[in-house]
Assembly symmetry: C2
Homo-oligomer: 336 residues x 2
């Protein structure tokens, strides 16, 4: 099937290309009869407007860039699903970029983003520093950041207040008498890790204590499980909080092997779980995190920002940062 242009359609329908353009774009100042003619020509020729030419003429691409970390966590997949679902509604196309690590890499991504002239960019990344965002932000392109509250020009964000979540959780543990809470570091999710510690600290402070029990995994250590096996020989916190379920499960396995019973001897909680959690015994107490919504809301904010831009420049400032709520779900791995 040869690529057919607007000219050929115009010829076939015996009208000018302007009229064809009007029909494509649903302009209402076209006589019904000619509209019909054009539509017939379009379907006869199997014409599909060239989005590239449209973008160039309109200086608008109906395209956004989505930047996610390379690691294929289920959580990320969920975000992508949510984002794409609403992107479809608004007929936006998605350029997918992944960023592994190191500033050099992100520089390249920015390069591609700018060159492709996307209308906006949505970023989900736990390890990006503020400086990187600024580099992108200089190009004056709408940005929606997922997972982290950001205050910067033309940057909005959708996030979950993990710090608050952990704060409430730890508060509850302390109140119930479990004062020896530890937090397992998540080396792949730096920002989250820090939030967990911050939340715990706040809860400890409230009770007049100081939190100082983050379990750090040495850089050289490849396996969390191996490390914990050693760790448990000399340590036995009452409660351990992990970021992802895979880590929590590593804790559970290592604890089992150390002869600790869950939740009798040791309680475990994770922040983000996956379907695999359902398969473990005991099932992990965890938070229900709206990962899909994170993506969906981000895209909604993006389209809103994009349409605002056209209409008027009123920086209303409202809805710049949306917080999504979580829900603690107690299961078999805790006593609370």
């Amino acid at each position: 099937m040869k690529k057919v242009t607007i000219y050929e359609v115009a010829a076939e329908a015996e009208v000018s290309l302007a009229t064809v353009s009007r029909v494509i774009n649903g302009s209402d100042l076209v006589k019904e009869s000619t509209r019909k003619k054009v539509e017939e020509a379009i379907s006869k020729l199997g014409y599909k407007p060239n989005a590239v030419a449209q973008s160039l003429a309109l200086k608008r691409s109906t395209t956004i860039a989505l930047v996610v970390p390379e690691a294929s966590f289920v959580f990320t997949g969920q975000i992508i699903n949510g984002l794409i679902d609403v992107a479809k509604i608004y007929n936006y196309n998605i350029y997918l970029h992944t960023i592994s690590e190191g500033i050099v890499d992100f520089k390249d991504v920015i390069d591609s983003i700018i060159k492709t002239r996307v209308d906006g960019v949505v970023i989900y990344n736990d390890n990006l520093t503020g400086i990187d965002i600024e580099t992108l932000s200089e190009y004056n392109i709408p940005i929606v950041f997922i997972g982290n509250k950001i205050k910067a020009n033309n940057v909005s964000s959708v996030y979950i207040d993990i710090k608050q979540a952990v704060n409430e959780l730890v508060d509850k543990f302390i109140t119930e008498g479990y004062k020896d809470v530890a937090i397992l570091e998540d080396r792949k999710n730096d920002y989250s890790s820090k939030q967990l510690v911050a939340g715990a600290s706040k809860a400890y402070e409230k009770h007049g204590m100081k939190f100082d029990n983050q379990i750090k995994i040495p850089k050289a250590q490849r396996s969390t499980y191996t490390f914990l096996t050693e760790y448990f020989k000399t340590n036995k916190p009452e409660v351990i909080i992990a970021n992802r379920d895979s880590q929590a499960i590593a804790i559970m396995n290592a604890a089992n092997e150390a002869g600790y019973k869950i939740p009798e001897d040791m309680q475990i909680v994770c922040i983000i779980d996956t379907k695999y959690n359902k398969m473990f015994r005991p099932q992990l107490s965890s938070f229900v995190m709206p990962s899909y919504d994170l993506g969906a809301v981000a895209m909604r904010m993006m389209t809103k920002q994009l349409s605002n831009k056209e209409e008027d420049q009123e920086k209303d400032g409202s809805d710049k940062n949306i917080e999504l709520s979580y829900l603690f779900t107690p299961r078999g791995s805790t006593k609370i």
Copy 2:
């Protein structure tokens, strides 16, 4: 930062835009001194070529569409990673499309693909019928299909011979005396499911028997686990093969509750596993599937097809279908 065009660079460097274009594209017929001038102007102005305009002028977008199923399996994430990694090398950008189910949806995706004038499309989907591919194929755009051997014009494929894998496996089980092998249906991966059964059938035939033991999960049943709990009350196959590890784990849990010991009373194998498999006891015997490579090789084939197209049209036919190899890895859930 305002968007700067090639004209401004030309003005700044006091040359014509043609020369700037030559510099950008690394043409060698530019005097060294003027090249320097232009490059300085480019970096001074922070100029980044507009890929949209380039695409239009070149009738080539250096962009491919990647179509994957909506379900966020880790396996899919891995494929995406592999594909993007090699896409980066060749400076290709990726449009990501997901397809949930139903022909209507895929029609929309095709629409977007054609409109965006991508250079090629890579598809990974287990439920797509041959007819759908043909619809796309009519547009005469290079296609690489992942996960399934395809014979069609300008369609290449990368795949793993799952049928053969299961065939060998079942053959081995039968040879070792385990003749009661069952296969759990994977409702979300239709094609794979069929391959498993085909492979098993072949092995049974070889031993002069007929395979007739696919465990079908009723449509109404939401949870495989629940179904199996019931199933095990009246059934006890010696071996069960599942497609994904999550299913195999469901089997394991249901079997445990039915009082069956793994692998003593019942052996379990899965085809595709994830990192979660490492966390279960016993660990599942499984195949090592090169998911990352599936994506990487697909993209390599794509770039090759794309460059061939330019140079010469010799349909060499070689490498149209690449088979990747697997490796059976026995672990705690089997006796072989």
